[in-house]
Symmetry: C4
Subunit: 280 residues, 4 copies
């Protein structure tokens, strides 16, 4: 009995190394296959909605989808088995994503209502989030995210200003242009204002009266000018964080008192006067 | 008599603490309710203009609107009562906004003309400005505003250049394209040029002749290139102000000779050798 | 005879002070009137092309236009008379602009052909360039222009890259989409590519085939990404020039050897060892 | 025999100087002619596709095209003859481009199928790449390219994030808007999302339902905000590389102790006190 349990324990450890680790060949291979299946799965979801393609290859799509679902199901079970605190994984963000990502096909056996069906199957796209947990990507955009988080406060303040402006200008345009020009309600006018201020400019609703066109011109020039603000915020933040990183890499460490921000040319610690080691 | 007056005085002081203060629980609660009602009010103004919604829930909308108006009316009166110099508040920017924000519903009892009605009710959106006076927001976007004000001169010079360009190019397009393509007058052509230069591109007016399309291409590339200018101005300003702020926070002041730009870790003044105070 | 000549000489000098100077009250007044007339003139040119407006106020427009033309004519003659080297002024850029700006109305007496007429009258818009010579504006955007000129080389290299890309992608789209989608020739396809890459997006020509839409997506993401390049160039340049200006203002001047780039805290010249004056 | 071979050798050397060199008058003239012919060739390809123009000047276009093709053919042969390692050139990127650039006209003699014909002739546009090898341009955009390559990693991470967002939002819009609004499949919806997020905004597909318009608004504001990211990355990189270049150009090298970061005006090494060489 004991030997059987330890055999299972060995299997668990091996599985853990393959699924969670990236140092062994099997671990890297597993990660690659997972990545490929995620992309294939996303491609399948997209192609299913292309009418001509779905009619022609419906059976193949369903078959491939089942293959992927079963693979992800096995992966999900193995992840639970091989981890020490399974509930911590199950209730984590990526654990829930993993679960939702395998459900759609099983659910599609029960729900036959077409619209519900479409929504459930679209859930499979959440598999894209699995990539964020993938060792290949998780470490990558670290510094970028830091800069964005550092300048988050200012960006939110800016977004808030943009929104207030859009509500006020949108309402003004609703009064000026009226329903004949397509500005049928204030929410629609705000939608138009966002479309214009962000320089997207669909053209589905456009001002017709001279006054409306004049206000629109002001909005556009304003939008063209204030795009500088978020850019400025993020740029300053990235420049600052890079400057800091650059300085940190140059820091010299004093073996005596621990101070580590001496200039590159310093020969003596400014704090305790101890001579600095050349290669510290 | 005296006791009654002092009772009123106590009521005034309590009210002042709740309305103008943010340190007590009641003060914070009041601020939160005010914020919620402002947003609800804005939502109501927007929903009223959505035809389908207004027909279905007309009475409820009017009822809610009256509740909000009465709340703001009481708030307005309490603000006047509880402040020491009431006229200073009444004639201030936010005082006028507060007044205008409560008038529409009362005025709507007298004005029954539909178009006038729409404009008056839209005035309620000015309540959004009340938020700027709200303690939660007033302190927030300080630094952002400073950077924008500091680079205002250059941005105006840039905007002026954009406007001159748009007048000249717009007139050129009017001559080149003519009325058949939708360029019916110079103001319309200038409007088109602004739409194009700011990369909005509605598509309601587009050049048709080869020469017109060639000029349009130049305008677009120009617009794509010169967007760099406001961005550059604001970015440089934000970077500069952050760099300055960063340095200021690190400055230590020497009590002996007055030098105040020692590094954060310095223990002795680099100028006179006097020991620096820890908390200076 | 001599007294008469000197009287004319006095008139010339007074005129010179008023027209070219900005220190006297009369000089500033003249500049303001000139500025007002330039803007009025531009407004007139624009309003003339608005069909409804021109029919209603045709005579008033023509009258005002003649007033402005005669004022500018007198100004042109006075400028020639009051300057010492008249031909230098006449042949300068602003001299030619001044001349062209007064010709249209006189020419309109001879040319009655409608289309020619429109073009000649549009020449009056060149009066906008007169503003650039105006003391109020000429000094303003100095630093901005310097930054742009300094980064001109890189911007041209970038524009060149954009153009090459547009020719190649435009041709590719012509082959992929063909004439049914509106991509009727390579120049039109290049025009479409510029419209798309610069994120203008008129929507007058849009890809219909899946492959075309895929390429369009790549172009858009590319355009979205490479807008960073001119912005980065200009921003870096502005930041650099401001940093330099900031440093220059701090420079200390050595009275002994003339070196003027000592750091703010230096007490002795690094070049000759002479003590630096506190207030230099 | 030997004299003949050496005569050929002299011809080879002379040709090499003209084709590959830029120091002699003949070398510069050759480069200019080549540049002119490349631009003329690109212009011809473009004009051929303009229906009206091609019908009118078909023979002239074909004649000019043959002249250019023959010139490029001779240039190609001379390049092979005059270089020491011909196969290295033939198999290089620019060698292959040079070959492809002359083939279309010869191939057009054999392929008479119209569509194939169009594609083959479009290959002539690859001649644009020849410019990159042109001495006038090859040295130009060096620093620009370096900055882009240095920030490539972050830009790719950013692009990846944009793509993931577009797939998720596109699918959401497909479910929300449905086929009646033009969102006929997920790939089309993703195409719409890219068009919107990059602020291009063609307007060929636009949301109609209130919920769809609300999501679209969020996408637009998001797109407006995150354009800051690539800009920030590239700007910080350009600023950094310029700062570095600026510092490097000022570095003086001390022959005694090896320190190489003296200011431009320093006469003595700050480290060892040795006099600095004027031209180091």
């Amino acid at each position: 009995m004991k030997s059987k349990k330890s055999q299972f324990e060995i299997f668990r450890q091996k599985t853990h190394i393959i699924i969670y680790g990236t140092n062994t060949f099997a671990g890297r291979l597993f990660d690659l296959i997972l990545l490929g299946l995620i992309f294939l799965s996303v491609l399948l979801v997209m192609l299913e909605t292309v009418a001509g393609f779905d009619i022609k290859y419906h059976d193949q799509l369903i078959f491939l989808e089942w293959v992927i679902t079963i693979f992800f199901s096995i992966e999900y079970i193995l992840r639970i088995i091989s981890i020490n605190k399974p509930f911590r994984y199950i209730l984590s963000f990526y654990g829930i994503i993993d679960l939702i990502a395998i459900l759609p096909m099983y659910l599609s056996l029960f729900f036959l209502d077409t619209h519900m069906f479409v929504i459930i199957r679209a859930l499979r796209l959440l598999r894209l989030f699995k990539i964020m947990n993938h060792p290949h990507f998780s470490g990558q955009s670290q510094q970028l995210r830091k800069s964005l988080i550092a300048s988050r406060g200012k960006i939110v303040a800016f977004m808030y200003f943009v929104l207030i402006s859009c509500i006020l200008i949108g309402s003004l345009m609703y009064v000026v242009e009226g329903e004949e020009s397509g500005f049928t309600s204030i929410p629609i006018s705000i939608y138009w204002c966002i479309v214009t201020l962000t320089t997207v400019g669909f053209g589905d609703i456009t001002p017709i009266t001279p006054l409306g066109q004049f206000i629109a011109s002001l909005v556009m020039i304003m939008g063209y000018g204030i795009i500088a603000v978020p850019t400025g915020i993020v740029t300053a933040e990235i420049a600052r964080s890079e400057y800091k990183r650059g300085r940190e890499s140059k820091r010299h460490h004093c073996m005596n008192c621990g101070k580590d921000d001496h200039s590159e040319e310093s020969k003596f610690c400014y704090n305790c006067g101890d001579e600095l080691d050349e290669h510290s």
